[in-house]
Structures are given as C-alpha cells and as structure tokens.
C-alpha cells in the first residue's frame, strides 16, 4: 500500500476549527490531531476525548497516603511507648495532622504518576507533520488520506476556510 498523504489545514478562527473537526469526522478522511497555540474548551469539546483517568490515580494516591500517614504515626509512637502529658500512646486527634499531610502528599504523587503514565509524555513525535505557525496565530488540523484523495482533502480544507499545507511523506512509518 502506498503511504498516506498528510495534509494540514491552518485556521485562524476557533469556530472554524470546530466545524472542520466535525466535518472531518463524518468524511472518509482520517482525522489525526489538532495543534493549537492556546488551550480551547470549544476544540476540546469537539474532539470528544475520553475523560481523563488521572483523577483515579490521584484518588488512589490520596487513600494510600491517608493510610500510610496514620500507619507511620501509629507505628513510630508504638516504638517508644512514651506517655506524654497523659495522652494515650495512639492518640488519634493529633495524628490527623500527619494523616492529612501524607494524604495530600500521596494524592500529589498519585497525580504525577497518573500524568506520566496517562498523557503519553514525553513525546518525541510531535514535530512530525508540524507547522511552526501553530505556535503563532494558527490552529492546525492534521488529516491523512490515500494519495489519490489528496486533491479532495485539499479542497475540503479550502472550503472550510483554511490555508492548506501538504507535507512530504516521511519515509519511516508515521506513527503519530
């Protein structure tokens, strides 16, 4: 099979990007990604991404931290068995401070692990089929098609009001 052609439509307006994404998804062309210079809720909504799983990592980290914090305080207290000003050895009320702090620490660690594993970072492939204008004032919508559909996809983007950039096919398999 001949390699696919990659074409990017460069838009200046957020709303046009949203329209182009919706139209692309209904067409026979393969939608690949959007490069945007700013975070955009409208585009995020149009992409209909799966909801992030990072929150679960944070929750599990928090719960583990909560248990670990109390366990740490209780364990260290029982190593000495020293009664201080009439308080019990395992004094729950002050241990809440340690428990609370370690809950937060655990949640933060969980969150970082979640981010590292779920967001596919670090990425070294982003510059493939990338147009530098997407770091300026353009939104780039990247799509792929069979070589014979190239003109069709080009016209499609122009109808949507975009500047079109056709990329040279990169030899090694373009896994984006």
């Amino acid at each position: 099979m001949p390699p696919k052609r990659h074409i990017m439509g460069l838009f200046k307006s957020e709303d046009k990007v949203v329209a182009a994404i919706n139209a692309l998804k209904q067409s026979s062309y393969e939608f690949i990604r959007v490069n945007t210079p700013i975070p955009s809720h409208k585009i995020m909504d149009a992409l209909k991404l799966k909801s992030s799983q990072v929150g679960w990592f944070t929750l599990c980290g928090g719960i583990l931290g909560f248990i670990a914090g109390f366990a740490l305080a209780i364990f260290t207290a029982t190593r000495w068995n020293l009664i201080v000003s009439g308080k019990p050895i395992i004094a729950i009320i002050p241990f809440v401070v340690v428990g609370f702090e370690v809950t937060i620490l655990g949640a933060v660690f969980g969150n970082v692990i979640g981010l590292l594993t779920q967001t596919r970072l670090p990425s070294f492939r982003w510059f493939k089929y990338y147009d530098a204008r997407c770091s300026g004032e353009h939104f780039g919508v990247l799509a792929a098609c069979e070589p014979m559909q190239e003109d069709g996809l080009k016209d499609f983007f122009q109808e949507q009001g975009a500047e079109v950039r056709i990329f040279e096919t990169i030899k090694e398999s373009p896994q984006l």
Binding site: L59, S85, G86, K87, I93
Partner: protein, 403 residues
C-alpha cells in the same frame, strides 16, 4: 425547600405560596403554645437556634455576591445576582433579634451566675446594644450594596409596584454612570465583607459561646462566620437549583455554574471542618479542665455524643465523599438534596452547641415535634421573604433578563 420562589414569580401560580404562610402560622402558634406551657425555655431555645441559622443563611448568601463583585469574578454568572435576593430576610432577621430580648431570662444561663469579672462584657444591656448596632450596620451595608447592584440591572419594562417606584425615584438622585455605581458597589461590598466577619464573630461569641460563660475559644467567632458562609452557599445552591428545575435551559444557569459553586461549597465544607478541628486540637493538647469540659460533654458523654457524630457525618463525612464526584456537582436535584441535608445538619450543630448549656443533665437529646414546627415557621419566613423579593425584582432571576 424554596420551591415556591419561582412559582410565585409567575404571578398566576400563587397557590402554593400560601403553604408557606400556613407554615409561618403553625410555627408562631407552636412557639406561643410552647411559651404558655411549662417549659418556655424549650421554645426560646428553638427560637434562638432558628434565628442564628436563618440569619446566617441570609448573611452568608449575600456575602457571595459581594465577594464575586470585589474579586471581579465572572464564573458565577447569574447566580451572583440571585444571591442578592436573600437581603430580603435582613429586616425579618433584625425584628427576630429584637424579639430575642423578650426571652433573655430563658436564653442566657449566665444571668444569675458569678462571672468572675466577665460582667463587664457579659451583661444584658451591653450585649443587646452592641449586637443591635452590629446587625444594624451589617444590614444597612447589605442594603446599600443591593441598592447599587439593583440599579445596574433595573429593567423599566417590568410591571411596576409601589416599592419599585419608590426605589426608582431614589435612583434618580443616585449616579447613573455604571462605573460610578460599580465603584460604590466595591466600597459597600468591601465594607459588608468586613462587617460580616466582625459582626458574625460577635454574634458567635455573644449568642453561642457565652452560653457556657466559663469556656473560651478564641477561634469560635471565625468558626461561626465560616459556617455562615458555608450554609449561605448551601441555600444559594438550593435557590439556583429550584429555579433551574422550574425554568430549565431558559434560566441561564448552566451545569458549569453548579459545578463551580459546588466546588466552592465543597471547599467551605472542608474549611468548616478545619476550623472545628483546629479548635479541638488546641483544647486537646492544652488539656485544661476549663476548656475540655465543653468538648467532653458534647462529644464523649451521652446523650450528646450521638448528636455530635451525627453532625460530623451529615455535615462533613457525607458531603466530603459525595462532592468528590464531579458529575454529582453538576446535577441540580442532587445538589439541592445535599445542601438541604447539610443545612439540617448545621441546625443540629447549633443544637449541639447550645443544648447542653440550656438543658442541664438531660437523659435524652431535647428534640421534639415543636422544634421542627418552629423551624418550619422560620423556613416559611425565609421563602416568603426571598419569594417576595424575586416577585418585586424579577431582574434578579436570570431567565427574566433573557426573556
């Protein structure tokens, strides 16, 4: 709870509104019956709890609008304007405070005690005068803020009544330039926020903490005003949810608004629990009998310990785990339910703080039907006040603006 706020805005559907007048009548009747019976102190206890609770709700809800204005926040959208409708309870709250004077012999257990030098601060005339002026200043600032805030929204096409005409004439003498009006809102709003902190501290010290005159917690005042903002937000969410349920998409209140204000509510739930904990922690470590007895009676000894756990679960543990979920915060019905339960929980928390001081050596928690009926009376007053405001100033409701 405030289901009829919106119904009564649609002037044809005023039937259900009467239910709340009946509730008020039942509440008043129960209260008077309680006074005439053998235990007037029980009726006054319910009165005091409800006065504190409903006033705090109104004060806390109005605080939301001022804070949004001062911080130039946009996220709250139509909810910010809606919170101003709680100003309508201020005059009622003030009258209820004045009536409290009649029950002074029943609600201040320290009246005939030796206070060891605290008489300078804890005596009836000084207490009532300082709280009188405190509330007066707070409410006047609230109205001054509202006066300017409403002028910006005023829609001359709405059907006009006496109050509207009167205020409209007053506005003519005010500045018309929106920037000047906003400037005034900033001044009055800022002063309201300051007064809120100071006056609610004072109320917390005078009407809640002083019930046990030998007990001191420096942070108690701050605890009281954090709690007030917490339940104020709760009541505001209930009102917004009712309006959203009645008017649907047209209300202009979106799931995002519920999500955001739900997060703030969640935050204040944590802050309330935190203010409770930091007091407990210091008392626990200090271990001074003067301080610990207050906590021991309420959290470790029967019958109050059960109530303490109930309050802790209803107001903190429950909402904490439920509100972690993002989707729940965007659902008006669920938020309405959760906030109503939390407000009931805070009612019980007031009972927990005041009860042991007012009812000594009881075998079971002094709670019966009459407390519930008196509370319903206060609920009726709140709904009538807010409903009346929204009827006179439909601009406060976002849907009316859109239409």
């Amino acid at each position: 709870m405030i289901e009829n706020d919106t119904k009564n805005m649609q002037i044809n559907q005023t039937k259900a509104y009467w239910v709340f007048f009946i509730l008020v009548a039942i509440g008043v009747a129960t209260f008077i019956f309680g006074l005439a019976s053998g235990h007037p102190e029980r009726a006054w206890q319910a009165y005091l709890i409800n006065f504190l609770l409903w006033s705090a709700i109104a004060q806390g809800a109005v605080l939301f609008s001022t804070v949004m204005h001062i911080t130039k926040a946009r996220w709250s959208g139509p909810i910010s304007g809606l919170s101003e409708s709680f100003t309508a309870f201020f005059p009622l709250s003030f009258i209820l405070f004045l009536l409290l004077f009649l029950g002074r012999t029943h609600i201040f257990p320290w009246l005939h005690e030796d206070l060891h030098g605290k008489e300078v601060w804890l005596n009836i005339p000084f207490l009532f005068w300082r709280d009188f002026f405190g509330l007066l200043i707070l409410y006047l600032l609230g109205f001054a803020y509202l006066f300017n805030a409403l002028q910006l929204k005023f829609d001359p096409n709405q059907p006009s009544g006496k109050i509207r005409k009167y205020i409209y004439n007053a506005w003519k003498q005010n500045h018309r330039d929106p920037e000047r009006i906003k400037g005034r809102m900033t001044i009055y709003g800022g002063l309201y926020i300051l007064a809120f902190a100071v006056v609610l501290c004072l109320i917390g010290f005078d009407l809640v903490m002083s019930m046990d005159p030998h007990w001191i917690s420096t942070l108690f005042g701050a605890y009281h005003f954090v709690k007030s903002f917490f339940i104020g937000l709760g009541a505001l969410i209930i009102l917004a949810a009712v309006i959203r349920l009645k008017q649907g998409e047209g209300s202009g209140i979106k799931p995002n608004h519920f999500h955001d204000i739900g997060k703030l509510f969640f935050g204040f739930c944590l802050l309330w629990a935190d203010f409770f904990y930091v007091q407990l922690m210091v008392i626990y470590y200090g271990n001074i009998p003067e301080e610990t007895h207050y906590v021991i009676v309420r959290t470790m000894l029967a019958p109050w310990n059960k109530l303490a756990w109930a309050v802790f679960i209803i107001c903190f543990i429950g909402p904490f785990f439920i509100l972690l979920n993002q989707r729940i915060k965007t659902k008006p019905v669920l938020m309405l339910t959760i906030c109503s339960i939390v407000i009931v929980g805070i009612w019980l928390e007031h009972l927990l703080l005041l009860g042991p001081a007012l009812s000594h050596d009881v075998q079971s928690i002094p709670l019966n039907l009459s407390d519930g009926l008196i509370s319903l009376g206060f609920l009726g007053l709140m709904v009538i006040a807010v409903g009346y405001f929204l009827k006179v100033f439909p601009e406060a409701v976002p849907a009316m603006e859109n239409n």
